[in-house]
């Protein structure tokens, strides 16, 4: 190309040459009898002057090319958003001691760890971490002393929820966790919180001495100090005939209580309360005791069903019940007592004994009945 235009180039002092996608700024040097070029940028052929002619000649081809380019650009921008790398920022007021031989690091004094994408934050006195140098990932971590964590779920989820409720509201943390020591092990797939553990979550609240959670099987164990009890707060499901639209001031049906030990099975959405279980239903101030209670949760992390086993006794304003076993169906607002069931309604002066009694949870609805095939002994006191 240069060969053919060489006589003309010699007359020019300054030229711009394009070879394929590359653009050069060239100057003819008379003394050296050569063209000295400097690459200035990359160009896409269809935008060049000459290619415009092609554009006119093949308008559909050019339009398709433009469309594909624009599509690719938009696609890239969208993908880059979702595939963007997350960042963790760790600061400490004193030191970070990095052992390069072992691949460990110890951060001391007022350590703050922030996950940038969600805003989740961990504050502690001392943070020890071990990283896999080859895979560049965390394999073990331990936070010791005044551990406080603010956990936010992914912003996308929170944003969706908040937008329905109130578009301009700032998201609150999903959980606030405090404890003396928190440990994470990738190898054992284990997370452990020890010493005055308190979890205040949007879906529950727990106070215990130790929480052990296996990430692989999604099972955990919550225990208290010897002689003490684990305290908890959960929320029960609204009855299906009384669904409330989501609002900021929505009051959820709270259930609180204590037990010696709690077992969590996240996969089957089940929590087992063991050892002198005591539960208060805050909707009607009813209280019940049992040796063990299994709680079954729905997708909104609200209790759908509760099954109390062994020495069940319930105290409600105006009603006393006893049985070997009790099943609460919060969706239908019913409770079924089985095995040596006994119910006494003080106001109506009614006493019922049966092997199986089905009744409404709300005392004022007052309908107590035995199951069809089971005989009911009813004693009514007449003044």
């Amino acid at each position: 190309m240069i060969g053919t235009d060489l006589p003309r180039l010699r007359q020019l002092k300054h030229v711009i040459l394009r070879f394929g996608f590359q653009e050069f700024n060239g100057e003819w040097s008379a003394s050296h009898k050569m063209l000295i070029c400097r690459k200035i940028n990359m160009v896409i052929p269809y935008s060049s002057e000459n290619s415009n002619l092609h554009g006119h000649r093949y308008p559909l081809k050019a339009a398709c090319f433009r469309f594909i380019c624009a599509g690719l650009l938009v696609g890239l921008l969208m993908i880059s958003q979702s595939f963007a790398k997350d960042t963790i920022i760790i600061t400490s007021k004193k030191t970070a001691i990095i052992d390069k031989t072992r691949g460990t690091a110890v951060w001391r004094d007022n350590v703050v760890v922030v996950r940038k994408s969600t805003g989740s934050k961990l504050i502690t006195d001392l943070l020890s971490i071990a990283r896999d140098a080859i895979r560049e990932r965390l394999i073990w971590a331990e936070a010791s002393g005044n551990v406080k964590a603010y956990y936010y779920r992914s912003p996308a989820d929170d944003h969706k929820k908040l937008f329905i409720i109130k578009p301009d509201l700032q998201p609150a943390p999903h959980s606030i966790i405090t404890c003396d020591q928190a440990t994470y092990s990738r190898k054992a797939a284990l997370g452990e919180l020890v010493g005055s553990v308190h979890i205040q979550s949007q879906d529950f609240e727990l106070q215990a001495e130790k929480i052990r959670y296996d990430y692989q099987v999604e099972r955990g164990k919550i225990t208290a100090k010897v002689g003490e009890k684990v305290r908890f707060v959960f929320y029960k499901k609204e009855p299906s005939d009384d669904p409330q639209p989501p609002s900021i001031n929505q009051v959820r049906q709270k259930i609180s209580g204590s037990a010696e030990e709690i077992l969590v099975n996240r996969l089957s959405r089940k929590i087992v309360l063991q050892g002198v279980v005591f539960i208060i239903d805050h909707s009607d101030q009813s209280q019940f005791k049992a040796d063990r209670t299994d709680l079954f949760f729905d997708e909104q992390d609200e209790i759908e069903t509760a099954v109390a086993n062994g020495n069940f006794s319930m105290n409600q304003p105006g009603r006393i019940s006893r049985s070997d076993r009790a099943k609460f169906d919060y969706d239908r607002e019913e409770v079924t007592l089985t095995g040596n069931a006994y119910v006494k309604e003080e106001e109506k002066k009614v006493e019922v004994t049966s092997d199986r009694i089905q009744m409404y949870i709300k005392v004022n609805q007052g309908i107590i009945r035995g199951v069809d095939d089971v005989p009911v002994k009813m004693e009514i006191e007449i003044d």
Partner: protein, 181 residues
């Protein structure tokens, strides 16, 4: 009179503090009158080696070296150094700097100007000034540092690195770690 005495004490204290704080400034040392008076021996592309029990512990290459014999001191330019671990299987710790100084008696190497340390694990440290105490086998400084690896960046007020144990201590650190996709 009291004010005058107190003023004198305070000014004395300030001058003592000033002197102790800035006495280690290598750039200031270069401008010392002593250096100007003494004519150094100029070496081009020198290579310095340090041995311990027949084992090389340090190797320093430089563009030039000015040897001040009376002061028992050497000024280096364009430094490329290697500190070898006692464990032969381990990689060496490499460092680069614009200028440097070796004090003969104390075996203290001080480097300054675009200092870069390349650790055996591939992590790099950038700073303005760094000291290498060969006797204690430690790298240390009192100025801000930046430690960089593929997915991690740490900034800190100052550092101390034990070449024997491979332990890096950073003061008031702030780390930014990129997590995987």
């Amino acid at each position: 009179m009291k004010i005058l005495t107190w003023g004198l004490i305070i000014s004395l204290l300030i001058s003592v503090l000033y002197l102790t704080w800035f006495s280690d400034d290598p750039q200031q040392n270069i401008q010392d009158v002593g250096f100007k008076k003494e004519k150094p021996i100029l070496l081009k592309d020198p290579e310095l080696f340090d041995f311990k029990l027949d084992k090389m512990t340090m190797q320093v290459k430089a563009k030039t070296a000015r040897v001040y014999e009376n002061k028992n001191m050497m000024l280096l330019s364009k430094i490329d150094g290697n500190v070898y671990s006692e464990d032969a299987a381990k990689k060496s710790t490499r460092f680069f700097a614009k200028s440097g100084r070796i004090k003969g008696k104390s075996k203290l190497l001080t480097v300054w100007g675009n200092v870069r340390v390349l650790f055996s694990d591939g992590q790099q440290l950038f700073t303005a000034r760094l000291n290498l105490d060969q006797k204690k086998s430690i790298l240390y400084n009192r100025v801000s540092v930046r430690v960089v690896s593929d997915n991690e960046k740490i900034v800190a007020n100052h550092m101390r690195y034990n070449l024997k144990t491979g332990i890096l201590t950073l003061s008031k650190p702030k780390a930014t770690i990129d997590m995987g996709l």
